[in-house]
Amino acid sequence: MVERLYVGTRKGLFELAPRSGAAGGGWDIAAAHFLGEPVSAVLADGDRLYAALDLGHFGAKLWRRDGISGEWRELPAPVFPARPADAGDDPHPWSLGKIWVIEKGGVEGRLWAGTMPGGLFRTDDGGQSWSFNDALWRMPERRRWGGVAGGEQPGIDSVLVDPRDPADIRLGVSTGGVWASQDSGGSWAVINRGMYAEYMPPELAGEPIAQDVHRLARCAADPDIVWCQHHNGVFRSQDGGSAWHELTAIRPSKFGFAVAAHPHDPLRAWFVPAVKDERRIPVDAKLVVARTSDGGQSFDVLTRGLPQRHAYDIVWRHALAVDASGERLAFGSTTGGVWTSPDGGESWHALDARLPPIAVVRFADE
């Protein structure tokens, strides 16, 4: 596989390649795609690359490129079914808002797409056709999912397919908790316990669907280990997302959007904390990455190579990535900065570019 790092921004998709001869793992922009268009999700599946666009006028679109030198071609976008008469007072539109996350389904050709306003879609033919997951949409709790900050619609932000069993799926919903299916999406249940919501009245704080799951990440080698960056804390589960305990040692703050799990080491994960929702800037205007190597009992605050004064970068939920080795990391910010690390986050290198606001960062090899 060709080494690549993909950065989806508000104004295009940037394809980064390792800088030849550079010590320390620097990257350069090798190509720009869809310049000017908002990119909302990216997925590399082997040499095949998928990009979701969130066009302001013309809706959510999906494109695919086969091979590093292949041509982009448009695929049919997922479509919601006709709104039936019994939809009644459903508060959510039956129409695709945006494709927020695309993940491999563990079976040749299968992908899952998590969207706003909360619809889940599946393809079994590499995106040529999509089927709507009616079972999840028809769960009564779905109508009580809340909107994401900055938009009135809820969204499926995380899709975790169990590497041991492609029928076993976990979803993170913002705002709607953690959902599980063990039959390839035929039936669903909300499963999370142990999270709490500071933004709800006390009697509702522990309600599973009130939990604003900003992002889930699972250890590929030990898939029962799942990490969560929640709206008001970071949590870890050892049973695939049912029981959660809070990691109160997180520093310098417990708010953030992104989390990345080490693919082999179940005790290691990375977060990018920030000041909570009132302000949404890095704590003390210092951009840092928090890493735990002991399952969340303690955290290292990693700063080498990151701006430590007047940094106002926020890292959205899909904009922190780790590669398959667990050593190379990358993240991109709302102010268009990209930083990469060759050594598990010990040191960081800034990409020599000021990009548009970044929604998603992914390695080809993850």
């Binding site: 066009l55 302001g56 006028h57 013309f58 809706g59 679109k61 448009e74 049919p76 976008a77 479509v79 919601f80 079914p81 006709a82 709104r83 039956w94 129409s95 695709l96």
Partner: protein, 89 residues
Amino acid sequence: MPTVSFTPALQRFLRVPELRVEGATVGAALAAAFAERPELRGYILDDQGGLRRHVNVYIGSEPVRDRAGLSDALHPDDALYVFQALTGG
């Protein structure tokens, strides 16, 4: 036969010339255009078949009134214009 023409902003995704189509309503004319170019539909209509929120359609100089049902009547010499709305930028 009415004509349908599409905003230049669309042409970077789909190259669509002005089309002459049969249709006594906006919906019928658009459906005829989509029959020629199926991939066009999702750019103009939402999943429930109404006009996308940030797409405007004019019959001559008049904006269409029925954005959800597309029932506005068309005459054979009408020109239908499909634009992006400034709100969606």
